[in-house]
């Protein structure tokens, strides 16, 4: 399922023209499935992520919760959000593993102006190519999940790669491998959706979570990281997971329609002044030197008059 061919590129940011080799192989979409209801908040996935990506250890922030730091960082792709929640008068801990969602329609990729800085593989992984990144940071404002993070030193943006290097070699992502409770799963998108739906049904029927469901937001074409939530009607409870994630219209309608239209208008403007010069001609200081010739009689008209 996940050999090197799954790293065939499907979409490239800011790339005019087609993607080389697109659709050449039969491809399987992969997905990470996170069962929030069985997460115990052990942070093994956080450590595994830091380990696999060889990131230096960051200082953690203490804010009276168990959360390691407020948000993911440019060298901390994976963060468990700890939310203290009250349900039917009882305390409940909502622990959600936050990372890049690998959207089917990625806002970061749409916003990016640098050719080839963000690619989407045919297996659904959205990956940043830092050597092509120009550090403009548009991806940050294009992302509905606040995931890409700017490294002020290198002026490049980083985020979770879904361990594309591991997946390309037929391995599961590092976080999946580290999870002790089995709340993290990795496989084909269809398998993961089926598994998630089964678990959600179980939660609804046997555990009294009537609103349990799968989080796979269709407003961005679905994601390649899906959650099972106790209450899928209120994803915002889980550390600000948007119920209806949207890409800003400036990166969709404006960028792909109005911008090319603006370029065409500029080109037409250049042509217009050129042909104005050719057809209408310049405004010369008056009186013109030499004075315009006397109006000549139309030669054809003159010949016609001569004939009869």
């Amino acid at each position: 399922m996940s050999d090197e061919r799954t790293l065939q590129i499907q979409q490239i940011s800011a790339h005019p023209g087609t993607v080389p080799g697109q659709g050449a192989q039969r491809e399987v979409e992969v997905a990470k499935y996170i069962d929030v209801t069985t997460c115990i908040g052990c942070k093994a996935c956080e450590v595994a992520c830091v380990e696999w990506n060889d990131h230096p250890f960051r200082e953690t922030t203490f804010d009276n919760t168990y959360q390691t730091m407020p948000t993911t960082e440019w060298n901390y792709y994976n963060l468990i959000k700890f939310v203290e929640h009250e349900r039917d008068g009882n305390f409940m801990w909502l622990m959600r593993k936050d990372q890049c969602m690998h959207c089917a329609d990625p806002g970061c990729l749409r916003a990016c102006p640098a050719d080839g800085a963000i690619v989407q593989y045919e297996n659904g992984i959205v990956d940043f190519q830092q050597e092509n990144c120009i550090g403009c940071g548009y991806c940050i404002s294009g992302c509905p999940f606040d995931i890409p993070k700017f490294n002020p030193k290198t002026k490049k943006v980083f985020k979770c790669t879904l361990c594309s290097d591991r997946v390309g070699q037929g391995l599961e992502p590092a976080c999946i491998k580290a999870c002790p409770t089995g709340c993290l799963h990795f496989g084909t998108k269809s398998d993961m959706v089926a598994l998630a739906n089964t678990r959600a049904k179980q939660l609804r029927e046997q555990s009294g979570f009537q609103n349990a469901g799968v989080y796979d937001p269709q407003s961005i074409g679905g994601t390649h990281v899906i959650y099972v939530l106790h209450d899928a009607t209120q994803p915002e409870l889980y550390g600000g997971l948007p119920s209806n994630p949207q890409i800003p219209p400036s990166y969709t309608g404006w960028k792909w329609l109005a911008k090319p239209a603006g370029l065409v208008m500029a080109a037409l403007g250049l042509l217009a002044v050129f042909f104005h010069r050719v057809a209408v001609g310049p405004k010369l200081p008056q009186p013109e030197e030499p004075p315009p010739a006397e109006a000549q009689p139309d030669t054809i008209e003159a010949k016609r008059k001569e004939k009869p």
Binding site: I134, I140, G142, C143, S250, W254, M265, A266, H276, P287
Partner: protein, 273 residues
């Protein structure tokens, strides 16, 4: 405030004239002093740099063409805000310098109503109430003022977009583009009018001078202001003189041709020796 601005501009012009020089030959008028010219080209250079580096990021179709001019994508991204800031700073001084002559008047509204005649060259001479700047130039100036402000307001969140809120950056992106397209439209027309469309105009920004003929053709009211003479009368006088000159040349040519014919070899009357 305006008086202090005037004092500043007057001093700047005086200082610039001390360093630079504008030679006004016979039959010419001083159009732009050294200070204005230097400012104009500082604005122009920073604008062109901003335009090229900005358009590299504006569209994927231009990215690979324009980023190499600035040493690749990351340097283009780094330099563009600085070019833009320079543009805004230089243009601010030009704004102070030109604020008074750029104020909109009734004559400009009249000029705007006959824009069709202007673009189709139906009238060879501008109306007599057209002053130092015409309505079109004033529109371009105020478009730059508005765009320059929009660029600055929308540019700052995009410059610092890793700290600015997401919606602000996304909205600024559109505002920045609209300002750029307004500026580009004006810029294309500006360059065309200043060079190919109106011969004799470009030198006003290089040498600083224009011919009197240029002045009474394009800015008659300004011509009247600086010379104290009636632009139409001077034009008609020049036209009369031109006709007389043409007639004299024709007469001379006619006489010359006749003499040549007479002296042609083979004609019997004056055989050549």
């Amino acid at each position: 405030m305006s008086s202090s601005v005037e004092r500043f501009d007057e001093r700047a012009r005086r200082e610039a004239d001390r360093v630079g020089e504008t030679v006004v030959h016979r039959g010419e008028l001083l159009r732009h002093p050294v200070y204005t010219r230097v400012l104009h080209w500082l604005v122009a250079i920073s604008f062109v740099l901003s335009l090229l580096s900005g358009f590299a990021i504006y569209s994927p179709y231009l990215f690979r063409w324009l980023t190499p001019l600035f040493g690749g994508g990351p340097t283009t991204r780094f330099l563009h805000p600085w070019f833009g800031l320079l543009f805004d700073i230089f243009f601010f001084f030009q704004f102070l310098n030109w604020l008074v002559p750029m104020l909109w008047t009734k004559a400009d509204s009249r000029w705007l109503r006959r824009i069709k005649e202007y673009t189709t060259n139906e009238e060879k001479l501008e109306p007599e109430d057209v002053g130092f700047f015409n309505g079109g130039q004033k529109i371009y100036f105020w478009a730059i003022v508005v765009s320059g402000l929009l660029f600055l307001i929308s540019g700052i969140p995009m410059w610092l977009d890793h700290v600015a809120p997401r919606w602000l950056v996304a909205a600024s992106y559109i505002v920045h583009d609209i300002a750029a397209l307004i500026m580009l439209a004006g810029f294309i027309i500006h360059i065309y009018e200043g060079t190919a469309a109106q011969p004799g105009t470009f030198r006003s920004m290089t040498d600083g001078t224009v011919t009197k003929e240029w002045a009474w053709t394009h800015h008659p009211a300004w011509y009247e202001d600086v010379t104290g003479r009636n632009p139409r009368e001077d034009y008609e006088r020049a036209q009369r003189r031109q006709r007389e000159r043409a007639r004299a040349i024709e007469a001379w040519e006619h006489e010359h041709e006749t003499r040549e014919r007479i002296n042609e070899p083979g004609t019997e009357e004056f055989p050549e020796r």
